[in-house]
């Protein structure tokens, strides 16, 4: 947030960078995320109607925001190696098209779509043939023969389309799935990211960008079919008459060029207008999410007024956008209509000269009419590609983003007694290896022994967040800052540190699902002692047991209930040290008192970062980190607990 240089955090990394500089970009990304939220839900039927709102905000302008992580040359090296990696546009398209046997399937699917298109082109040709060979000379046998051929064409047309589209769902669905999983894996990388995208941007990467990059498979088949249509039609026309065929090819190219020229600016305008249209939904969500606050201040009229304003803007945007679409579509109609007229006149003149039979003429006319459709489609191809490449570049930026934290050294392995890879399950994860922590700006290290309940008083909330970020290894640490059982955290790497120290962020997330799923990993039982200690009984009673759903973001719980749930989750990991950053800010004093007593009764080793007198009163020791370069150390009771 604001003062980007929070005092006393010189070694910290400001992940969100300079806020002012990136506002517009982030806004664009968030807009895109909103828009795709709808797209995700609505885009069930296939790849139609992809919203391309995100392209407006060009990314990759993270100059000022990228911090230098001090003392992590490994991270930089890893980053450099990553640059060759999976983030190129081509690599991503390859994932969408070729991986896991998709290449094979994709080739067959494309061929099937081309076959389908070939049959579609043959239908008008056959109509011409029927008229030419059966109707004009009145031959009954010819009629039935050609109708049978037509039936055969229809069968192939229908079956090839069905096979191809079935297979396409698989190619597209799995391609999108894999891209999304890859992007998500990067976003959740244990070593974090040097430049972490904000929630809006991250959402748009995982949803709309992955969606669009995967959509490259649709582009390929659509373009292959349109190309087939044009080639088949031209080939047939060439066999009928060389000048006509050449004329059609020239005309096609001309129409395509004009349509493409026109489509670019129109589309850019359409995008801007689309994002205006999406704003109404954002405001609605915002106001309803804060409805209690709105009602409390008597702001319903103002909320309604604001919605009306944005809805009105949204209406203008939608009307303007539909104008662009209409203009484009009707220009297509006009051009292909003129094309048809020219072709008709020319071929009829040729027929008059006797250089074309009537049936051939009909075939030409049918083909010309059929070409109308294919032409209109082909005009938009270039801009589709532009959008997909832009999305792929954004997604590639995420794939190639270097990690923030050094990986640790494999050989430097485990501190004494902590041999298990996973501290949570290993019996000696709790062997209580002592932790020695040197908070930045302080001389005396803080030793934490098994069973300790230590309070640390931060200067202010920012300081508290910073301390918990360090203990949770969410920011790069200096050598010697944190030692676990004698091993340096930098050598252990973030994963092994987190296995031994549970230090969740202050604003921890509650996930939709059952209360239990938010408490313990699958297959583990909640510990009644912990539940009792954090006074979770009324929460259980309120929502109806630990198998009850807590709602999106835990919305069925009040702020205080959510906070106690988060507290219980932290105490369930069985880590050697649990660091709690202001765990009771939303809890009333009466309950807080009980929680404090409960914490004291638990055997866990706990470090409380808090200014709450109630919590501090139960600590064995209290350390005040007030920035005076020395810590006050207290033993509040003068006794052990």
């Amino acid at each position: 947030m604001t003062p980007p240089e929070a005092p006393g955090t010189a070694g910290t990394v400001e992940v969100s960078g300079a806020p002012g500089a990136r506002t517009t970009e982030a806004a664009a990304a968030a807009g895109a995320a909103e828009a795709t939220g709808a797209g995700e839900a609505a885009g069930a039927a296939g790849a139609r109607g992809i919203d391309e709102a995100g392209t407006a905000g060009a990314h990759g302008t993270d100059e000022a925001g990228t911090p230098e992580a001090p003392g992590t040359p490994e991270a930089r090296a890893a980053g450099a190696a990553g640059a060759l990696g999976p983030g190129t546009v081509r690599a991503l398209f390859r994932v969408a098209l070729l991986r896991d046997g998709r290449g094979h399937r994709m080739a067959l699917t494309t061929l099937a779509f081309m076959l389908h298109q070939l049959c579609e082109a043959l239908v008008p040709v056959l109509i011409g043939v029927v008229i030419d060979r059966a109707m004009a000379p009145a031959g009954r046998a010819a009629l039935f023969r050609w109708l049978a051929v037509l039936a055969g064409v229809f069968v192939v047309l229908s079956l090839s389309y069905q096979r191809a589209s079935s297979s396409m769902v698989t190619v597209y669905g799995h391609g999108e799935h894999e891209l999304r999983q890859r992007a998500m894996t990067r976003l959740l990388d244990p070593r974090s990211l040097r430049r972490r995208p904000g929630p809006g941007e991250a959402l748009s990467l995982v949803s709309s960008d992955a969606y669009r990059v995967a959509g490259v498979s649709w582009s390929v088949v659509q373009q292959a079919s349109a190309l087939t249509a044009i080639l088949v039609a031209s080939a047939v026309l060439l066999t009928i008459s060389v000048p006509l065929g050449l004329g059609v090819i020239a005309g096609t190219v001309l129409v395509l060029v004009v349509m493409h020229r026109v489509s670019m600016p129109l589309e850019a305008r359409g995008l801007a207008e689309q994002s205006a249209a999406a704003r109404a939904g954002e405001v609605a969500t915002d106001m309803i999410a804060g409805l209690r606050v709105v009602i409390g201040m008597g702001g319903r009229a103002e909320a309604a007024r604001r919605y009306r304003a944005v809805s009105d803007a949204s209406r203008h945007g939608a009307v303007a956008a539909s104008r662009s679409v209409l203009a484009y579509g009707n220009l297509g109609t006009l051009l292909s209509g003129v094309f048809l007229a020219a072709l008709t006149t020319a071929s009829a003149w040729l027929a008059l000269d006797g250089r074309l039979t009537v049936g051939r003429l009909v075939t030409v006319l049918g083909l010309a009419q059929y070409l109308q459709g294919a032409l209109a489609q082909a005009g938009a191809f270039a801009s589709h590609w532009a959008h997909k490449r832009a999305s792929a570049r954004r997604l590639g930026g995420l794939m190639d983003e270097p990690p923030l934290l050094a990986p640790g050294r494999a050989r430097h392995a485990d501190p004494a007694g902590c041999s298990g890879r996973d501290g949570r399950h290993s019996p000696d994860g709790q062997d209580g290896t002592a932790v020695r922590w040197l908070p930045p700006g302080h001389r005396a290290p803080l030793d934490l022994r098994p069973g300790d309940l230590v309070g640390v008083v931060p200067r202010d909330p920012a300081h508290a967040r910073d301390l918990s970020d360090r203990l949770g290894y969410r920011v790069p640490l200096g050598r010697g800052e944190l030692l676990i059982g004698g091993a340096d955290a930098v050598d252990l790497g973030p994963e092994r540190v987190r296995a031994r120290i549970t230090a969740p962020p202050h604003h921890g997330a509650v996930f939709s699902g059952t209360l239990r799923s938010n408490l313990v990993p699958e297959g583990q039982e909640p510990d009644p002692a912990v539940l009792g200690a954090v006074v979770l009984d009324d929460v259980l009673e309120h929502i109806g047991g630990d198998r009850a759903e807590v709602g999106e973001h835990g919305r069925r719980l009040s702020g205080g209930q959510r906070q106690r749930l988060l507290l219980a989750r932290a105490l369930h990991t069985g880590a050697g040290l649990v660091v709690l950053d202001e765990p009771t800010t939303a809890i009333d004093p009466v309950t807080e008192q009980r929680v404090a007593e409960g914490l004291r009764g638990l055997p866990a080793t706990v470090l409380l970062i808090t200014a709450s007198p109630i919590l501090l009163s139960v600590c064995d020791r209290v350390v005040v980190l007030d920035g005076d370069d020395h810590a006050h150390d207290h033993d509040p009771k003068g006794t052990h607990r």
Binding site: T23, M135, A284, G298, V319, A341, R459, T585, D588
Partner: protein, 627 residues
């Protein structure tokens, strides 16, 4: 807090249709005009097949080049007129549809935002949110994308059949052979599609939800090393969605197969009929050609028409949910009583608020009981209290003791089941404005000024700055772009303490005679505590106030303290009286005070205002908007 079930009404099909017709009917002149223009445009392009037929006839008859050129020009002209009229009509229709749509969604929002809090809570806000966002979007999408397509396809189909009939009624009848197959295909598909596509939509929105939660909770997931769990869960949903997509495609394939069959039948029938008629000399070769081309041209629009049936069906469902909400507004539903609610009408910042009664009102609560809908156990039992004019009362109690409920009733949001709450002289027609600062922390989208003006839309910039200064929110005045700084995830993120600071500044802007504070943020740090405490003191000064004490200092600074236990009054009195009484409050305070006075833990040391509230927040910290 109550179960999240959608208990908001949904309009039935007839009511939905009536409402739609009513809204469209308000513009029936424009609607008719735009449809007429579109009809003209379609008719113009449908000149093509007969003209092509004429070309064939002209060639067979050996007409001159001039005749062909005229026909060619006619074709070009038809294309120009068709494109022009379609464009004009499309614009008219789009403007009209968007206007109706905007009216509908504004009505929906306005009704939703004015629903009584009780209705909202028992319905679950997620239902309301999904209606004002997802349903509005579904209907908008259908109206913007599907409607024009369907209109065009319907007109083309209708006129093509007409054109066919004009050419020759026998050819037209032959073309209709495919109709039974079409009807069967549509019925068959519709009966099955909504199940599959409903499933797909549900799976995809659940998947979207998982993505949102994982992105927002990335730090939490890292802290618990729960990546595997979240990725697996996401993969599970997403693969199931793909599976279901394939089921959907299977359905669609059979549907398409039937459509292809119908197309072939229609085309073959017309060709055979043409063969017979040309053979007997009843029609010319050109006419038969035109008929075949008409039928071939129909493939596209008929496919669009049948294909969009599913979209239309879905949009209708969304529409019925929207109409269900607007009906609450003018149907004499519970929404009506809200107009008179003191929380709204008497609000000083409101645009049309009545005159503010002078003086500070007194609050009196007599024998109030309250239970939430569907819950047997009352939250409040026989509560009586009095807050003399201009004084403050602190409510203390454990979670679930009913303090927030009592605060909300005093604020005028909801009526007690039994008992009476009066604020000021009961005879005045308008109760004095009461202002509630809620426990929920919400940062509104937009700029700092937008956030502040929620409470008083017409406040000047100077007034906004003064309010910020008075509550000690100096940090807000120092933001880069001042009052125009965009806040939240797309701009400068704020932590809960800062957001609550803004909420207190809003109270000063609204300047209500009565304020009820239920703000729960107690961010760490002695500096912040003192800052928010000072802001609180500034906000309650000169007003009659009720404060839900989330920090014990709030109780000490209040004129009187009331301790609630299980919905009943346990003790009440001044801070000193309660301490002397040696009850629950005294015990609580003693424990608190002992720690607070320890050297080195300065609880109320005034800290430098600047490094308190503001701090860059990573992904986890941004207050999540309802998705």
């Amino acid at each position: 807090m109550s179960p999240e079930q959608g208990t908001l009404p949904v309009a039935d099909a007839r009511r939905t249709r009536r409402e739609l017709l009513r809204r469209l009917g308000a513009h029936r002149g424009r609607l008719a005009a735009s449809l007429l223009v579109l009809l003209g445009g379609t008719a113009a392009t449908l000149v093509t097949p007969p003209v092509l037929g004429d070309v064939v006839d002209a060639v067979t008859a050996g007409a001159g080049r001039g005749r062909i050129a005229v026909l060619g020009l006619t074709l070009a002209l038809a294309a120009a007129v068709g494109a022009g009229l379609s464009y004009a009509g499309g614009r008219m229709l789009a403007a009209l549809v968007q206007q109706v749509l905007a009216g509908l969604r504004e009505d929906v929002f306005e009704t939703a935002v004015r629903l009584p809090l009780n209705t909202l809570e028992s319905a679950g806000s997620s239902d309301v949110v999904s209606r004002v966002t997802h349903d509005v979007e579904a209907v908008s999408e259908a109206a913007s994308d599907v409607l024009p397509e369907v209109t065009h396809a319907a007109l083309t189909t209708g006129l093509s059949l007409l054109g066919l009939a004009v050419l020759d009624y026998r050819l037209a009848l032959a073309g209709l052979v495919c109709l039974p197959v079409h009807i069967h295909a549509a019925r068959w598909f519709l009966a099955r599609s909504h199940l599959v596509y409903g499933d797909i939509r549900r799976l995809e929105s659940a998947r979207g939800q998982l993505v949102i939660e994982a992105v927002r909770g990335a730090e939490t997931i890292r802290a618990y090393r729960a990546q595997r769990h979240h990725l697996d869960e996401l993969a599970g949903r997403s693969l199931r969605a793909v599976e279901r997509q394939r089921d959907g495609m299977r359905l669609r394939n059979r549907f398409n197969g039937l459509l292809n069959t119908a197309e072939y039948l229609g085309l073959a029938a017309v060709l055979m009929t043409g063969f017979v008629l040309v053979g007997s000399g009843a029609v010319s070769l050109g006419t038969a050609t035109a008929a075949a081309l008409y039928v071939h041209r129909l493939f596209g629009p008929v496919g669009v028409l049948l294909d969009s049936l599913d979209d239309i069906q879905r949009a209708t469902v969304g529409l019925s949910r929207l109409v269900g909400i607007t009906d609450l507004g003018h149907g004499g539903g519970p929404g009506e009583s809200e107009g008179a609610s003191p929380g709204e009408g008497g609000h000083p910042g409101g645009d049309d608020g009545p005159e503010q009664p002078s003086g500070r009102p007194e609050i009196e609560v007599r024998g109030v009981s309250y239970a939430y809908e569907g819950s047997a156990r009352p939250v409040l039992r026989d509560i009586s209290l009095r807050v003399p004019a201009g004084t403050s009362l602190a409510l203390v109690g454990a979670s679930g003791s009913g303090k927030s409920t009592l605060a909300r009733l005093i604020a005028g949001l909801g009526e007690p089941d039994r008992g009476r709450i009066t604020v000021g002289a009961a005879e005045t027609p308008y109760a004095p404005a009461r202002y509630l600062v809620t426990q929920e922390v919400h940062l509104f989208g937009g700029t700092l000024a937008d956030n502040l003006r929620m409470a008083r839309p017409r406040a000047t910039d100077a007034e906004l700055r003064r309010a910020l200064r008075e509550v000690g929110a100096e940090w807000a005045l120092r933001l880069d772009s001042g009052l125009d700084t965009v806040l939240g995830p797309t701009g400068v993120p704020l932590d809960d303490g800062s957001v609550q600071h803004l909420a207190l500044a809003r109270v000063l802007l609204a300047d209500p005679p009565v304020v009820v504070l239920d703000e729960a943020t107690a961010e760490s740090g002695p500096g912040t505590g003192a800052l928010l405490q000072a802001a609180l003191a500034r906000v309650t000064r000169g007003r009659t106030s009720v404060v839900v004490a989330h920090r014990l200092e709030q109780a000490r600074h209040a004129d009187r303290v009331l301790v609630l236990r299980h919905g009943e009054v346990a003790e009440q009195g001044t801070h000193q009286e309660l301490l002397a009484a040696g009850g629950e409050y005294a015990a609580l305070w003693t424990a608190y005070d002992r720690t607070a006075r320890r050297p080195g833990i300065p609880t109320a040391r005034p800290g430098p205002a600047d490094h308190t509230a503001i701090r860059p927040g990573p992904a986890d910290h941004t207050p999540a908007p309802l998705a």
